[in-house]
Amino acid sequence: MNVLHYINLFFSDSTHWHGYDGIPTRLAEHVRYSLIALAIAAAIGLPVGLLTGHTGRGGNTLSLIATAARALPSFGLLVLMFVLIGFGLVPVMIPLVVLAVPPILVTTYEAMRSVDPSPVDAARGMGMNEANILLQVELPVALPLILSGLRSAAIQIVSTATIAAYVSLGGLGRYIIDGLYQRNYEKVVGGATLVAGMALVTLGLFWGIARLAVSPGVRRSN
């Protein structure tokens, strides 16, 4: 098992565990990029998805926007933004946000649309206003699906944030890009393992959030 051998070499080398190019530093950078990108994408996708889903209007426009955003190549966009804007966090954030908005937006919209209309009518009949219906009736029921959209976006962000290293930023992609240019296979495999591991942790994290946040009644009916 070639790859396993390299993974072992990478992680048992103590120089990889501290300093400027150490695993903790790179991991922290990667987490930071991912969190910022996810926060921005959620700030765009969630409100728009919730409102359009609640009113039921604009679904076609939404799926058009999602298709267009999905068609934009993340890597090409990264290089383009780097050339236009220059060194910094902004050229990395733009492609990551463009990547993450469609899944959040479309899933949130679909989640809101798939809420059973009878409790919504009941809530309206009880005199709840639209904001309360949205937040207290529709949102809890739609939450599992909304979280799945966020999770899918988060995983794509985590694995795509590796390309930030191509435009001279940090993150776990550093190991992969540097290892590639230095012909240091051990470093490449180590970096790849770390990113894949981080994506899996993200998966687990969202599973935990869903456990805690989704109301037991909704979970049972699923």
Binding site: G59, A71, G149, V158, S159, L180
Partner: protein, 236 residues
């Protein structure tokens, strides 16, 4: 105007040649992925206990970043197109398996009974009843997989100019020609949108019984985004 489409000679390809190469690198893996996913999905429909673990495996494979996947494969397949295509094919499974399983499962029991009553055996029932009814779900998966595949091919540039249109990104930087970078991004995006539109057309051709024009007539079960629902299923 023609200057816009001039390609540096180091890429050894014309503009149209790069588009063809890009299409080939993006579409072949998705088609192979579809062919591989069909029997896997059928197994998951037959053996229910198999479905969650299969979803977990595809999700875990999907979590491997494309760049890392490419680079690890170099050791086995070299700096070639194959190295770019293998990960793309593997990624497409995460979309296809649930899309096909959900599509095949959504066939109503009465329809299956009717097919049996008409004397169709399991193979013909699968090919002539279940598969056609699952076509909208499969095409929806095909759209998501193909578009993301077209976008990911560009990353192949990093492993020795195997990224077709993505190779223009590197040339644009080393020759200081932003034009090439614009050309790469715009062409890739247009390519993705055109392929997406073609697939929508294919679906209309394959499902003449579905209502057209009025989108509202779509059944509620026809969720257009299987890719997004995949991971949700995986965690159950």
């Amino acid at each position: 105007m023609n200057d816009w489409f001039r390609i540096p000679s180091d890429l050894q390809n014309s503009y149209l040649g790069l588009i063809g190469l890009h299409l080939r690198e993006a579409v072949i893996p998705v088609l192979v992925g579809l062919v591989v996913a069909l029997p896997i999905a059928q197994l998951c429909v037959r053996l229910r206990w198999l479905y969650p673990p299969v979803l977990w495996v595809t999700t875990v494979l999907y979590a491997i970043p494309s760049l890392a996947f490419f680079v690890v494969l170099i050791d086995y397949t070299g700096q070639t197109e194959t190295t770019v295509m293998i990960p793309l094919g593997v990624y497409s499974l995460v979309v296809f398996v649930p899309a096909i399983v959900d599509g095949v499962r959504s066939v109503p029991q009465e329809t299956l009974d009717a097919a049996t009553a008409m004397g169709l055996g399991p193979v013909r029932r699968y090919l002539q009843v279940q598969l056609p009814i699952a076509v909208p779900a499969i095409i929806a998966g095909l759209r998501v997989a193909t578009v993301s595949s077209i976008s990911l091919v560009s990353v192949g540039m990093l492993i020795g100019n195997q990224g077709a249109l993505g190779n223009l990104l590197n040339d644009g930087q080393i020759y200081h020609q932003p034009r090439l970078i614009w050309l790469s991004v715009i062409t890739t995006a247009v390519l993705a949108i055109v392929v997406d539109a073609v697939l929508v057309g294919v679906r209309l051709l394959l499902t003449p019984w579905m209502p057209r024009g009025t989108r509202k007539a779509r059944p509620a079960e026809d969720r257009p985004e299987p890719a997004e629902l995949v991971l949700e299923d995986a965690a159950r």
